[in-house]
């Protein structure tokens, strides 16, 4: 976007850096003062988050989050594969609807509608089933795009070598498609993990719901949810780093 900076630009960059550093410091100070005025920075209010029982409870929630996300991921990927392999009017309509209707609406259907028809699933499934139904559509789109990104010449080459159609799909197209998809799949995993926070609505004891229980118990609302948000941030950043690394590796291989 810009050339290597010359002396004039370097001077400008220096002064802009100084000014923005001052502005940033000012903003942070303002925020901290606001927090301090409400007594939110009081060490007493943060000390519980240095103790093991609190963390054991939160990490227990994180574990449930991961379990729910994993179950959702497996189901949604299976569904997405089915949808992507058979593109017809029904699957397209399904993907269209699922990519516009909020998951929360599906969760409410699970919570308030199905029980009156005698379908009352355990809490875990009340969270996982709507999420899986919704994310299956996203996975279908990713799978389709991955397969489409493989050059048609690859399939043609396979066929001209006399390979049967199924074998071409399995040994030529899919391995390359998977490589195209990996970064998107990890991004999708982050989105999935974030969506499990709907356990807050379902009362499934995942991370955010446990945060709510904890905040109700000790009354440290801000501290609890900041810590919970931080845990989400760390876990998802780790996942994103993985995505970047995979992308970098893919770029190397492609070259």
């Amino acid at each position: 976007m810009f050339d290597a900076p010359g002396p004039r630009l370097r001077r400008r960059v220096f002064w802009v850096s100084v000014v923005s550093a001052l502005v940033l410091t000012g903003l942070v100070a303002l925020g901290l003062r606001q927090f301090a005025a409400g007594g939110q920075l009081d060490p007493v209010r943060w000390r519980p988050y240095l103790t093991w029982p609190v963390w054991r409870y939160l990490l227990g929630g994180l574990w449930s989050t991961v379990v729910a996300a994993f179950a959702t991921g497996v189901l949604a990927m299976a569904g997405g594969l089915l949808l992507a392999l058979r593109p017809n009017r029904f699957t397209r309509a399904y993907a269209g609807v699922m990519r516009t209707v909020p998951v929360l609406l599906l969760v409410y259907v699970m919570l308030f509608v199905l029980p009156s028809f005698g379908v009352n699933l355990p809490l875990f499934w009340k969270l996982v089933v709507p999420l899986a139904l919704s994310h299956a559509a996203s996975y279908a789109v990713i799978f389709r795009a991955g397969v489409d990104a493989v050059e048609p010449g690859q399939r043609e080459a396979g066929l001209s070598l006399g390979m049967p159609d199924g074998a071409v799909t399995r040994f030529v197209v899919l391995p390359q498609a998977v490589r195209h998809m990996t970064p998107l799949l990890v991004t999708q995993a982050v989105s999935l993990l974030k969506d499990t926070s709907l356990g807050y609505v379902v009362s499934y004891t995942e991370l955010l719901f446990n945060g709510r229980v904890l905040a109700n118990y000790n009354g440290l609302l801000i501290q609890t949810f900041i810590v919970v948000a931080f845990v989400y941030l760390v876990v998802n950043l780790a996942l994103s780093r993985l995505a970047h690394r995979l992308e970098a590796r893919r770029a190397r291989i492609a070259r």
Partner: protein
């Protein structure tokens, strides 16, 4: 019946306003991420990573229940608006940035070779070309945002989803109520898709 209208209008208003807010903030963050000042690039990157790696529901809870405790009081609707707009801004910024990156680097080099400044090349060469490329990604974000506004219902805003749930408690006609609510979202998404197609076809 008034509950239906209130829910629908709240969802529409929340979607339009938050998207406008997300565009403004997202544009600012995207610019931060491409300027030649390393500190500002860092600020932009941190903004994007922090906002998009924490679930929107966590942000909403933090904003709606947390802000009053530090002395920031806003009407519920505007608190939800702020959280949603700032959250989606991270996605908007990423879409804009990849739109800019998608413009071949030769274009930027040619602009600089002609003696255009950073601002001039951005305004006259890069952005017009990036503009059309980002319409579709932005439309996807707008649709995702429509869905995301449903979460505002969890923290108390009477939006479409929340209204549907409350009406269902009274009418006990779940199929009708929830299908109707779903249709409202479909209509909104169709509207966004239509607007995107019109924008995309318009010459830059």
């Amino acid at each position: 019946m008034s509950l239906v209208l209130e829910g629908f209008l709240n969802t529409v208003a929340l979607t339009l306003l938050s998207f406008a807010g997300a565009l403004v903030v997202g544009l600012a963050v995207a610019v931060l991420r491409i300027v030649p000042v390393p500190l500002l690039r860092g600020v932009g990157a941190v903004y994007v990573e922090v906002w998009r790696n924490i679930p929107l529901l966590a942000w909403l809870v933090l904003f709606v229940f947390g802000l009053p405790e530090v002395g920031v009081r806003m009407p519920l609707f505007w608190t939800a608006f702020t959280a949603i707009a700032l959250y989606e801004a991270a996605f908007v910024a990423e879409a804009l940035r990849s739109g800019v990156n998608a413009v071949a680097s030769g274009q930027g080099e040619a602009a600089r070779a002609l003696g255009l400044s950073f601002r001039q090349s951005l305004r006259h060469v890069i952005l017009p070309q990036a503009g059309r490329r980002v319409v579709q990604p932005l439309a996807n974000i707008a649709i995702a945002l429509t869905m995301a506004t449903a979460l505002a219902g969890v923290v108390g805003v009477v939006d479409m989803t929340r209204a549907a749930q409350r009406i269902n408690l009274e009418l006990a006609q779940p199929l009708l109520v929830f299908t109707g609510a779903g249709l409202c979202y479909l209509v909104m998404a169709a509207g966004i898709g239509f607007a995107a197609r019109v924008l995309e076809r318009r010459p830059a």
